[in-house]
């Protein structure tokens, strides 16, 4: 299938890139990048959590949702950028191996869904005039957001423990 070959070609390109090589062959670069990934996780998770807690009416009840969201948006976007960049760098150290890791695949699907959801449905509800929305709608929208991002987090934790690979990817390795 064309998608499969495209993804494998991309993984190989990452694997062979200078940053992939550099981080893989350095003893301290991998942990260093990992720490940025972890710190950005805290900030990203915190901003997503606080907006969703507000949507559910659990925190900052006296503030409009949109205002709180606008306040934390730069931090959310900034930390998301750091996560994507550091994540890509970490991925590049063993990209071909990650292609066959089911936890990594799950994480990427959750990430794609979470990002699309955050910038479409979630954003629309957060920015909407709250008097025109049923409280139940806000709660459901918040819970879906939390579930999607939790999926990304759990996938991230799981991929380190997964050792079996999907299909026969290892046979593609040189």
């Amino acid at each position: 299938m064309w998608l499969r070959s495209l993804l494998i070609a991309f993984c190989e390109w990452c694997n062979n890139s200078f940053w992939g090589h550099g981080i893989r062959n350095s003893t301290w670069l991998f942990p260093f990048v990992e720490i940025f990934h972890l710190l950005a996780l805290g900030v990203l998770g915190g901003t997503i959590l606080i907006v969703n807690l507000r949507l559910m009416g659990l925190r900052f009840k006296n503030e409009p949702v949109s205002e709180l969201a606008r306040d934390v948006r730069p931090w959310m976007l900034g930390s998301l950028a750091v996560m994507l960049l550091s994540g890509f760098l970490l991925f590049s150290t063993e990209a071909v191996k990650m292609y066959g890791n089911w936890a990594f695949r799950g994480k990427m699907l959750f990430l794609l869904a979470a990002v699309i959801y955050t910038f479409t449905v979630h954003r629309k509800v957060v920015m909407a005039d709250q008097s025109r929305l049923a409280p139940a709608v806000r709660v459901v929208v918040a819970i879906i957001s939390l579930l999607l991002w939790t999926g990304v987090g759990l996938g991230g934790r799981a991929l380190g423990y997964v050792t079996t690979s999907v299909g026969s990817v290892s046979s593609l390795l040189p």
């Binding site: 915190g46 606080i50 900052f60 306040d71 934390v72 931090w75 987090g153 934790r157």
Partner: protein, 166 residues
């Protein structure tokens, strides 16, 4: 009982053995420990940003504290409990690393930072509650907190690399 014999005793408790030998116990506790960072670190950063006067500027300081603190302390409690559980899995190995000891010292410093803030600038919060520019003491507390947490989290990650291989 000396520290060494306490660690040895802890190592031999049935609980410690279960944590060490169970296939699922450690990954589950570790996952909770790491994912609670989104709550604890995330909210701590938001609070520090307000203390620095760079985020949530139009919100009352007392409101930000009041809204974030219960969840922040809840998250901290989860981190402490799961952290202690992880430590129990192999207390001797954890204690043998320098980075673990450094992390513990920094945790105490972070706690002292909160106590000092509450006893000084935090007590006079009514004076600057609505002001977008915060007093120097508040900024100092925020910077100390941010720096300490960056190093505490880095140290936490580093422990995994510093532990002797099983």
């Amino acid at each position: 009982m000396s520290l060494a014999s306490f660690l040895q005793w802890l190592y031999n408790t049935p609980f410690s053995i279960t944590m060490r030998e169970s296939l699922w116990a450690e990954p589950i506790v570790e996952t909770i420990h790491v994912l609670t960072l989104t709550l604890f670190l995330g909210f701590a950063v938001l609070l520090d940003m307000r203390l620095l006067g760079v985020a949530m500027k139009r919100r009352r300081m007392s409101e930000v504290l009041g809204q974030l603190n219960p969840w922040l302390f809840g998250g901290f409690a989860v981190m402490i409990v799961t952290g202690v559980l992880l430590f129990c899995a192999d207390p001797i190995a954890f204690y043998s690393t320098t980075v673990f000891k450094v992390k513990m010292i920094m945790l105490v410093l972070a706690g002292l930072n909160v106590l000092i803030f509450n006893a000084t600038v935090g007590r006079k919060i009514a004076e600057w509650d609505l002001s977008p520019t915060t007093p120097g003491g508040a900024k100092l507390a925020a910077v100390v907190s941010l720096v300490l947490w960056v190093f505490i989290i880095s140290a936490g990650r580093w422990i995994a690399y510093a532990l002797p291989p099983p």
